[in-house]
Symmetry: C2
Subunit: 249 residues, 2 copies
């Protein structure tokens, strides 16, 4: 005996075949009945093996048909500093990323005045409960939700200015907007983590109810060392890749 449970041995076997392209995207996995016969196990074990692969977003089941290797062309999200070939784009642009992948971009947003919760206050280096502008964005690729963003800006910076309400700001980016009021962003940081999606994120992004892994980016823009905007960017981990282009000295 190997010591490895049968369902994990089978899952590992199939996973290796998928990652080596022996089972290419779109290919059909053995049916449960075939696996029962080939591996000499019960239907339960076959189910658990497939469940492991589904939780990894490697395969998807289709009722009445079979289980198939997923084929998901990833969207590319590119973030960069000053090294930009084209003239004056924002540090990243959903429209550019989506267009490059052949998708039609779109977005919705809604803004409101609120106060900073403790975590946001730390990120913006302001006092808890200080007034902030909270804007929620939902980005669409071909009308399907692709990104979910919560952005906070200290009202101490933008209040009373023409850019207090970020109407249409998604098109030009935070850097250009802040520029209009003399706030010159010179640095940003992004913290990338993976975690399972929360309930509201699953709904907002129309993620599958199980195995929904999300990439979460905490981005903060700085002007002369002072944070001027911070955002949580939630994107489906299995539909995206992130690209960073950084200059070195």
């Amino acid at each position: 005996m190997t010591g490895i449970p049968a369902y994990l041995r089978i899952a590992g076997d199939l996973r290796a075949r998928i990652l080596s392209s022996d089972l290419a995207p779109g290919a059909k996995l053995p049916t449960e009945s075939q696996m029962m016969r080939d591996y000499g196990v019960s239907r339960t074990v076959a189910k658990w093996a497939v469940a492991v692969l589904k939780s990894e977003s490697l395969v998807e089941g289709r009722r009445g048909s079979g289980v198939y290797v997923r084929d998901v062309p990833r969207l590319v999200r590119e973030a960069h500093g000053r090294h930009m070939r084209t003239a004056d784009g924002p540090t990243w642009s959903f429209a550019r990323d989506a267009g490059r992948a052949g998708h039609r971009p779109g977005w919705e947003h809604q803004s409101e005045h609120t106060t900073a919760d403790p975590a946001v206050a730390v990120r913006l280096a302001i006092e808890p409960d200080a007034p902030v502008m909270l804007t929620r964005y939902r980005y669409l690729a071909d009308d399907a939700p692709a990104q979910f963003v919560r952005s906070w800006e200290p009202l101490a910076i933008t209040s009373g200015t023409p850019i207090e309400w970020p109407e249409g700001g998604a098109a030009v980016g935070v850097v250009a907007r802040m520029d209009h009021i003399g706030v010159h962003i010179d640095e940003f940081t992004e913290r990338v983590t993976t975690r399972s999606a929360a309930a509201d994120e699953i709904e907002a992004l129309q993620l599958p109810l199980r195995g929904a892994h999300a990439l979460v980016i905490e981005r903060t823009y700085f002007a002369a060392g002072i944070p001027v905007e911070t955002a949580d960017i939630v994107i489906p981990g299995d539909r995206y890749e992130l690209v960073y282009r950084v200059q070195v000295d």
Copy 2:
């Protein structure tokens, strides 16, 4: 009826309690028997609900004891450009990241001459089968494997120079090593994706056999627009966070 399967409803319920810290790290989930009673479901359903959370690395089961919310302090991997407070560190340093998290860093590496496979050739902008130096690194935090790196350098650049064999190069970084032979790296890109770990990665990183999500970084260094090194960096997705600090113009 909700239309949502019972096991997903229960998993979502527990997930929400975990993400809201109602069930804090270390807390014990309801036992299968409790769930059967509380939700009025069979043991199978309780098992499937817990399996969903385990596949998301949110909880871990302990035989004979219960299922507990995981508490994993993440290592921070920080990449940055020229904006460095301390003097002359590499663009990233495993020793620094591990030390900051209170771990004792270590690494093993082994180098060999080989030829570029098609994918690597594209990334290095050289011809397929051109000679390259392949170096495998395994980084350890407190003797436990923490990162797995495959690095390729075109021998056309380093052959015959003092830094052809990257002995001890892990300590100083590629940028400083290349500097010794007059190759001045001025830019790097990183492509970040998530996927399930392959069999050899599971072994090398001592990952669990199920639910092993890996963060994969494809990094390429450039000197005057010419790629001089590229690497695949595989790190356990649930034990890390990535930080990018980028200057904007």
